[in-house]
Each structure stands twice: as structure tokens, then as C-alpha cells.
Symmetry: C2
Subunit: 166 residues, 2 copies
């Protein structure tokens, strides 16, 4: 399913096979229209362009933690991209002209496959644990590991720049 492309490189060590330094608990799941990797938008901008909404279903023990989130317009959703390899350190995305290091990419393939999805909140229901999202670039069923409110004071970096062509 994941083929190594030209110039891509795997590490000698595979984080998936290491004992682990800490453990993650899944606190909920993403509900999205995307059932296959081939149809899943590659980033939040592409997800928004589909016009398809999504939601997050938080498990019962964690629902009280939503108190106050309804006052924010956007949140960072953190997911665990559990179906990807973790040992690729140089990658050549299909759209890219040159290979890049994993930490210069937003690819789901990384030593700790944490996904960061910053989404507009359309509704927060503490009773049912459902957060309605404008869109998301994650497969249906993707485990959720954290939710943080978006604070423009620390998250909106007006002078941030990317290299030419990216």
C-alpha cells in the first residue's frame, strides 16, 4: 500500500517497533465522508474546497472537557494517523519536484503520526460529545487524541513564509 519512491529513505530504526516512551489514549473519533485514502483531501484547504462537512465524536469520559469551547471559532484537532508507516525519514510527495525530510513536510508518515487539523467549529454539544466541523482532511474513523482552542495571539503568525514554490 505504501511504496517507496525514488530517493525516499527509511531509517535503520522503526519507531513502530520500539517499546515507546509514553502512551496515547484515544479520546474520540473523526466522522468524515472519506473512507479511502485516495479520496481523502491532502490538507485542510483541499478539504474546505470539497464543501463537505465533518464531525468529531468525543467519548463519554471526556465530554465535560468541552465546557467553554463553544466560545471559540476554530480549534486544533489532533489525531493519530494509525494506518501509516513510521520509519520514512526522506519523502518524495507525488506533487513535489524534490525529496524532503519528514519534518519539512505535513505528510502523515512520521515517527509519531500525530495529525494537526485546524478547523472551524460549527457546533459543540457537551451532552452528546459531538463537535460539528466545517471540514476535515482525515479519514472516517481516525482516532482523536487532543483538542485545543485556536488562539490568534500565538497561532496566527502574520509574517510566516514558506520556500518559493511550496
Amino acid at each position: 500500500m505504501f511504496e517507496l519512491r525514488a530517493n525516499e529513505k527509511v531509517m535503520a530504526l522503526d519507531p513502530a517497533a520500539l517499546p515507546g516512551d509514553a502512551h496515547i489514549v484515544f479520546i474520540g473519533r473523526i466522522r468524515s465522508p472519506w473512507r479511502e485514502r485516495s479520496e481523502c483531501p491532502k490538507n485542510m484547504r483541499a478539504a474546505l474546497e470539497t464543501g463537505q462537512r465533518a464531525s468529531l465524536m468525543l467519548d463519554p469520559p471526556y465530554r465535560e472537557g468541552l465546557l467553554g469551547l463553544e466560545g471559540y471559532t476554530h480549534a486544533h484537532i489532533f489525531t493519530w494517523l494509525h494506518q501509516v508507516p513510521r520509519n520514512l525519514i526522506i519523502q518524495k510527495p507525488r506533487h513535489a519536484t524534490e525529496e524532503q525530510g519528514t519534518f519539512a513536510l505535513r505528510s502523515p508518515i512520521r515517527p509519531n503520526p500525530v495529525g494537526l487539523h485546524t478547523a472551524r467549529l460549527l457546533g459543540v454539544d457537551q451532552q452528546t460529545g459531538v463537535i460539528e466541523l466545517e471540514a476535515i482532511d482525515a479519514l472516517d474513523g481516525t482516532p482523536v487524541i487532543d483538542i485545543k482552542p485556536y488562539f490568534p495571539s500565538v497561532d496566527l503568525l502574520a509574517d510566516a513564509m514558506t520556500p518559493k514554490g511550496r
Copy 2:
């Protein structure tokens, strides 16, 4: 060290005691001037105001993954805030007038204590694994779990708003 304040609430289940659904590997460490929680800035804005620089030391197996990161001005640094409790679901920060759910706060205390620090990159050295940062709101020695480039196209949300007073 962590006292429960009035109106704060712990969950019946403690994520720290659960078997875990996935494992994290530490890929490096933060080097910062902050040795004690009492002196550590509470957010990136406060960290910048100190004028104190910081750095990230990436472990050898992961250093090739920095290829191309030098072209970006800012990156999201993900840490594991390993010294905090994980079972607090309603919190009353010292500065706040009302208690909030954990997911409406950027507090380090959360079911999965993933820290998100978006910092300006002052230097990226693939050979030594050192990333120089303008500042960081994390204790010296904090484990690093991921690094992603900041993409204004998905990370800069010009219309994001917070509730009045926050």
C-alpha cells in the same frame, strides 16, 4: 505539586493508568532557560517577551528528516509534557475568572499531554540536529515528539476569534 482548585474536577478514569492505544517515541529534547515550572512562560507570547532564546536537539536517527526545513520561517514543535497529571477535565487557571473544560484551554494538563509550540526558526543544522528557536514556553529537557513546518495556507486563520476576555 498539582493542587485541585475550587470547582476543578477529575475524571473517574485516569488516562495515565490506562494501557494505551498507541505509543509515542521521543525524538529529541528542548533546551531552554526554564528549569522550574514557576519560571516557565505560560505561552509563546510570554516566552517571546522574555527575549530568551531556546533550541531543540534532535536525536541522531531522525536528523535527516530536517532536510528542507531551513526554508521555512516558523514550525510547529510538538512536545510531550510528561510531568503533568492527565485526569483533570474541568480546570480553573489562576488568571481565569471561571472554570473551563480542558479542551477549551491550552493548559499542559490534558488526557494526552501533547504540547504545541509554534516558533520562529533561527537556524536548522541537519548534522548536529540542533534547531535554534526564537523562544519557547517549555521546560528545559521536555521531550519532543514531532516537528511540522508552519503553512500560512492552513495555519493562518485570519478570521479566528476567541470569547470576550480571553
